[in-house]
């Protein structure tokens, strides 16, 4: 079996964000993460492309993505003081959308930095 090699991959496990990792992966999982530290190796090797979890959960029950998005929008729209929080294990592109979301809601916006 041949593995696809991704050169100079970026590790987002910790704040160091190493960008010289060599990944060897097949369709499902990453088999090798060269130059990564112990934490980085665990980060890369423990994630797979499998469908491990349901697309979405509403009140603990399986739901479709469309239903969950509508439910989320309704909850946030009905709230007087909604909070948008987190944004650490995600991309800057998603963070930008989060800022727009908080702005649209007239809500609170905060990240891990405040911890």
């Amino acid at each position: 079996m041949t593995l696809t090699v991704v050169n100079n991959a970026t590790c987002t496990f910790c704040g160091c964000v190493c960008d010289d990792i060599e990944l060897h992966a097949d369709e499902i999982k990453i088999h090798k993460a060269k130059k990564a530290c112990v934490l980085g190796t665990a980060w890369f090797l423990n994630h797979t492309a499998e469908r491990k979890y349901p697309d979405a959960l509403i009140d603990g029950k399986e739901a479709t993505l469309d239903e969950a998005i509508e439910a989320a929008a309704t909850y946030l729209h009905e709230a007087d003081m909604p909070l948008v929080y987190g944004m650490s294990n995600t991309t800057c592109e998603a963070q930008r959308e989060c800022v727009a979301l908080a702005d649209l809601l007239g809500g609170l916006l905060d990240s891990h930095t405040s911890l």
Binding site: F44, L57, I58, M81, Y85, G86, L101, L104, L108
Partner: protein, 280 residues
């Protein structure tokens, strides 16, 4: 540690000072270890700020911090002699007595050190792209965190609008959590409040927070199966190179769809319309 033009001997040309409440593993890797008494960070920083300006400091005030006056004077001397100093600070400073005032004091010390030599201060980051969140929020709102839009424009006040405080006081009546697991890390009263209000979680896994949430949406993992940009701790943006294809949508896509669904509903302010409905 790299050797450079100005530091040809690498690590030997550098001095690392650790300040902590107990000798940790890092103490062995450092040249000097200063054991500060718990909750006395603000006092120690203020004493250092006085010493760099050659002001008199009483022995009792110094003794209270757990660090001796000789150690303080030695540290100040080394700081002033340094060509380029950097202070790294973490949650031990911002989550103990004094909270963000401790961080503010350290940043002031770094500012004031620039009267003598080049000095900077940098927060230590635990998770991947916290720095990116700071940068994006600064770019979009002018503030790095602890922001409210409840008057239609951004306002900033850590302590009032920061998440732990808002949750512990029970101010907020809905929460949207992305790329974080406050259910595992926050104080119990904050977690209790998250369970009381409608909480929405976006995460690649079913987390502690997912279990107490009303809505959980599974998304792809940034950097492994989702492309994008992440900021390094020193604010260098780096592109992500995903090696896998995820069956789940990206955070970006889901947040945008939720935002679009809300934009279709009535705008929250009684008068006026939202001026910007889409990101350019």
């Amino acid at each position: 540690m790299p050797k450079s033009k100005f530091l040809p001997r690498g690590r030997k040309d550098r001095t690392a000072v650790l300040v902590d409440i107990r000798p940790t593993k890092s103490a062995k890797a450092c040249d000097i270890f200063l054991q500060v008494r718990p909750g006395k960070d603000f006092e120690l920083i203020t004493i250092l700020r006085a010493l760099i300006k050659d002001q008199k400091v009483s022995e009792e005030a110094v003794a209270e911090t757990g660090v001796s006056l000789e150690q303080c004077n030695d540290l100040v001397d080394r700081m002033k002699k340094a060509k380029f100093g950097c202070m790294f600070f973490g949650m031990g400073l911002s989550m103990t007595r004094g909270k963000h005032m401790n961080s503010a004091a350290l940043l002031t010390l770094a500012t004031e050190m620039n009267a003598f030599t080049k000095f900077v201060a940098m927060p230590m980051r635990g998770h991947g792209n916290v720095t990116g969140a700071d940068v994006v929020m600064r770019w979009q709102t002018g503030y790095p965190f602890g922001i409210t839009f409840n008057r239609g424009y951004p306002r900033y006040n850590p302590g009032e609008f920061s998440t732990v405080d808002v949750l512990v006081r029970g101010d907020t009546d809905a929460a949207f959590i992305i790329g974080a697991d406050p259910g595992a890390t926050m104080p119990q009263p904050a977690i209790d409040h998250l369970a009381r209000i409608p909480t929405i979680v976006l995460d690649p896994h079913i987390t502690h927070t997912s279990k107490l949430s009303r809505v959980h949406i599974t998304t792809s993992v940034a950097g492994i199966s989702a492309p994008g940009t992440a900021y390094r701790m020193d604010e260098i943006p780096l592109p992500l190179k995903p090696a896998l294809k995820s069956p789940y949508p990206t955070d970006e896509e889901v947040v945008r769809r939720i935002k679009d669904a809300i934009a279709k509903k009535r705008f929250w302010m009684p008068e006026g319309e939202q001026m910007i409905t889409a990101q350019i």
